[in-house]
């Protein structure tokens, strides 16, 4: 199934603005993130910490609805879903 990934901020520079991934049916958000992480070390580093856990500060949206931390692992994606990824900025 095809899933569209919209990247924001720094993540856009690493994976590009829009990426379409072909994932096996029944894939979840962790599977999609693993597929993105496998593209480059930079990509992996933005999404996962040194222990391999999804970085807490990154904001994920599926079809423009924010995914709460507690359901990151349980979200199952469907054909045509759009996942947005925003690694927030902090400077001023």
């Amino acid at each position: 199934m095809k899933i569209t990934v919209r990247a924001f901020a720094q993540f856009r520079e690493v994976v590009g603005e829009v990426t379409v991934l072909d994932l096996p049916e029944g894939s979840g958000l962790p599977g999609l993130l693993a597929a993105l992480a496998s593209r480059s070390d930079e990509s992996r580093n933005l999404l996962f910490d040194d222990q391999g856990a999804i970085r807490e500060q990154v904001i994920f949206m599926v079809n423009r609805k924010r995914v709460p931390r507690s359901s990151l692992d349980s979200i199952i994606l469907d054909e045509g879903d759009e996942v947005a990824i925003y690694p927030p900025v902090a400077g001023g």
């Binding site: 924001f8 901020a9 720094q10 856009r12 603005e17 970085r55 807490e56 500060q57 904001i59 949206m61 423009r64 609805k65 924010r66 709460p68 931390r69 507690s70 947005a84 925003y86 690694p87 927030p88 900025v89 902090a90 400077g91 001023g92």
Partner: protein, 252 residues
Amino acid sequence: MLTDREIQRYSRQIAFIGEEGQERLKAAHVVLAGAGGLGCPAALYLAVAGLGRLTIIDSDRVEMTNLNRQILHWEQDIGQNKTASARDKLEAMNSDLIIKDVCELITGQNAVALTGQATLIIDALDNFPARYALNLAALAHGIPCIHGAVSGYDGHLTTVIPGETACLQCIFPDPPGGSEFPIIGTTAGIIGLMQAHEAIKFLTGKGTLLKNRLLIWDGRDSSVTFLDLERDPECRICRNWTQDAGSVGGVE
């Protein structure tokens, strides 16, 4: 009450916000946390809009590397306290504005004491530990806080209304990494100005606030995206929020 001179000075905006809106600006006290890339443009436009009272908090001195974006600080100010430098320019722009400058680092120890008199708080800080302390103080007092942040070509902002919207901790339960961020001056200018705009909307009551919405600015293609937010019922900071001061985690 507005003076005749004020009615004349602000006539172009009184035509839009009314004398009542202008009076609200005059009666307001904004506490601005940070006199850097975000704080400078925010303060500049609030000063000329006719804000009555402004407290500026920043512990830094002006450095040469600030000059690409911190537009209230000029070459002549290098080595000066940012709060004093900002006050000088703002007073020259609007002598009616009452300014208090506080040259202190915002921490969990002083944030509550520094913000209690505010009508509105603007978070124009450059690091998350201080932002979290400010968030806590805003919640403790029940004072709305306009949060903005930038890096490179990227920026975001939202308005936190205690008890009504997601607080900073709900939105960003963990602080984004890094300490010194690359910043293009215009990015800080755009977000700082949007914070001032949000403040004017809040203070005059005219317009719709960015409540439970995170505006994400991408300067690469000048695009704006909105992210809908909601309070985290498990948020360790605001889950038990009530209007009484001292009712949020960690604040006495």
